[in-house]
Symmetry: C2
Subunit: 371 residues, 2 copies
């Protein structure tokens, strides 16, 4: 049986006893009111959500995966995924470290990181749906117009809508300067966008009524290379002036890609067939704005590794205590059993200690990097 | 597009120019007639079989995998797998380094190793079906009775039947002394065998009319631990006195297990419900006999790694020459293209050279280890 116990004591030890983070927060106007009890209460509830709600969904995630209906071009996520997300937004988790001006709870980002470490341990595939949204939130918060902020940030904060990061095209990954997706200015100040993107994590799903795609594209006559890239926000559904959902924007999932170990996450090929979007930041300076989201994604990938390391270690430890093979070199340890648990063997202990060192060492570095 | 070119020149260079293997063979009675031209002709045909027949089957292997019919308890292999095996036995490949007394071609084992290196490069999942048979052949050749050899070795040599290695049980892998499968002596000198085995590669399939399971089990009152293990050969179908196929023996595939990357191979749970088998080697000395097969399997696993390293390197090299990203540090190399192929980047070259060194170094060590 797979097992996951949120490492609350480790987190609290690092936050309060090693780094004494609330001492620092008292010097910061935004966080002066944040005390250890608040942080600990949030971590405890976050751990319960991860262990009880998303951890059991790995089975449907792996077995069923996501399915694309080629006619409607809608994606169905594995059993239980959508309901877990409903609970996630009901619990207010997307808002944890968002700006109170847009409905956020204004807690330090390190608390959000701890939440995501536990979510990643519990179910990486599920976690990548809300995980991308925070980066979209940050990019729009930093570079969006007042209108864009007013329209989109409350929805990302509440989790009612999610965000995606549309960079990669079939012929360009590392070298974004080669990208071909086109954005043509329209008379009303919007842009008509056409192109193909691949490897778009959480690019389509059934969790929310709308999805905000952050899309890199080129304006007509843009300079060649990375100096000619602009950023656009392209909603799956247009948003009416009163905030209600409008018409479908032609930005569709063309296929689902197969990523090892995360069948439950919809890694989408996205076809953009003249979808209407609005410019984020300045023309031709889209990479600068997108880097806000890319940096959030980078921290997120580090957090995935940390979360997976922790849960892998916990399960290896549990197995090593349970599995009986051979006898200890220093004499029989489990006299009532036909063999000793493998944790007695020196090389097994070495491997467990290595995994534990990575898990705890990775956890230790994260608050300093992020707080 | 995946690509595979058999590394014939590398193999010939190692065999003939570095190790001069035919000089050694001239000192050996069995191989005195084996010359370089014969070896080279065999390698060339083996390479064609691997590249043209089994390599294209990775697609059906990955997409379809194997399916178990829970009613008949028969396994269907992916599209094309069975027909490729028919061609394999028609070409006489299973007999390559088998004993001429049982229909073999009597070529040195290093030639068989080269064949299997190419088969493993081309399609590991497919190759594991015939791959296990050679170990079963060797164990029966070394420890079988005259009757067992007469009945089984010609069928393993021709490839008409395949062999399996049934060691692991749910509670015992490394520590075979814990195994519980029971063998009860019958009045006619045979044994009735009952137990459960897991992770049995090629444990069931639709390639051949019969499968020979080599099964470790315990006799009644056998000493505890690894000194009380005996080896039995348990055919899927009994063999009549005239060599024809008889009744079904109750040794069934209970489920297929999921091994990453080899969906096309049937990794079987094997339920043995009072199947009749015969003893191989002496009572309670079964591990000694099974180690002949285990050693063949160990060499086979090394050969899998070598084959996969070679094909991975070839495909990485092909991609690195084709994929355009960024410009070379030392100036533009592909003036007519929007970016340079990634093989110009120092870190890509370092990775390619590392892979090449492993592939060539692994190949270099294999003839000495095996000839």
């Amino acid at each position: 049986m797979p097992t996951y116990t949120p490492p609350l004591r480790d987190m609290q030890f690092l936050m309060h006893e090693v780094f004494k983070i609330t001492d620092d927060y008292q010097q910061m106007k935004s966080y002066a009111e944040v005390d250890a009890d608040t942080i600990n209460a949030v971590l405890e509830e976050a751990g319960k959500f991860a262990a009880n709600v998303t951890f059991p969904l790995n089975i449907s995630g792996d077995d069923e995966g996501c399915t694309l209906d080629k006619t409607t071009r809608e994606v169905t996520t594995p059993k239980g995924f959508k309901d877990a997300y409903r609970q996630f937004i009901e619990g207010g988790w997307p808002a944890l470290s968002c700006d109170p001006d847009y409905g956020g709870q204004g807690l330090p980002f390190v608390v959000n990181s701890a939440l995501y470490e536990m979510l990643n341990s519990a179910n990486q595939a599920w976690t990548m749906y809300p995980g991308l949204s925070h980066g979209a939130y940050e990019a729009l918060h930093a570079y969006g117009t007042d209108e864009q902020k007013k329209t989109y940030l409350p929805k990302l904060t509440s989790g009612e809508w999610t965000g995606t990061m549309c960079l990669t095209e079939p012929h360009c990954g590392t070298d974004l300067g080669l990208l071909r997706t086109k954005a043509e200015p329209q008379a009303d100040g919007t842009y008509k966008i056409t192109g193909n993107k691949i490897f778009i994590s959480a690019g389509e799903h059934d969790f929310t009524e709308n999805i905000l795609h952050l899309v890199l594209a080129r304006l007509p006559d843009a300079p060649v290379g990375s100096k000619g890239i602009s950023l656009f926000v392209v909603p799956k559904f247009h948003v009416n002036a009163d905030g209600s959902i409008g018409e479908r924007n032609p930005i569709f999932c063309g296929a689902l890609e197969h990523k090892m170990g995360i069948h439950g996450n919809a890694t989408a090929q996205i076809n953009i067939d003249g979808a209407i979007g609005t410019l984020v930041g300045e023309p031709n300076k889209g990479l600068q704005a997108m880097f806000v989201m890319m940096n959030a994604a980078r921290l997120g990938v580090g957090n995935q590794s940390l979360g997976l390391t922790e849960v892998a270690y916990q399960n290896a430890l549990s197995y090593a205590k349970d599995r009986l093979q051979m006898r200890s070199l220093s004499g029989i340890k489990a006299k009532d059993k036909p063999a000793d648990p493998i944790i007695v063997h020196p090389d097994v202990r070495r491997m467990l200690l290595t995994a534990k060192a990575y898990a705890e060492g990775g956890g230790r570095s994260s608050p300093t990097a992020r707080s």
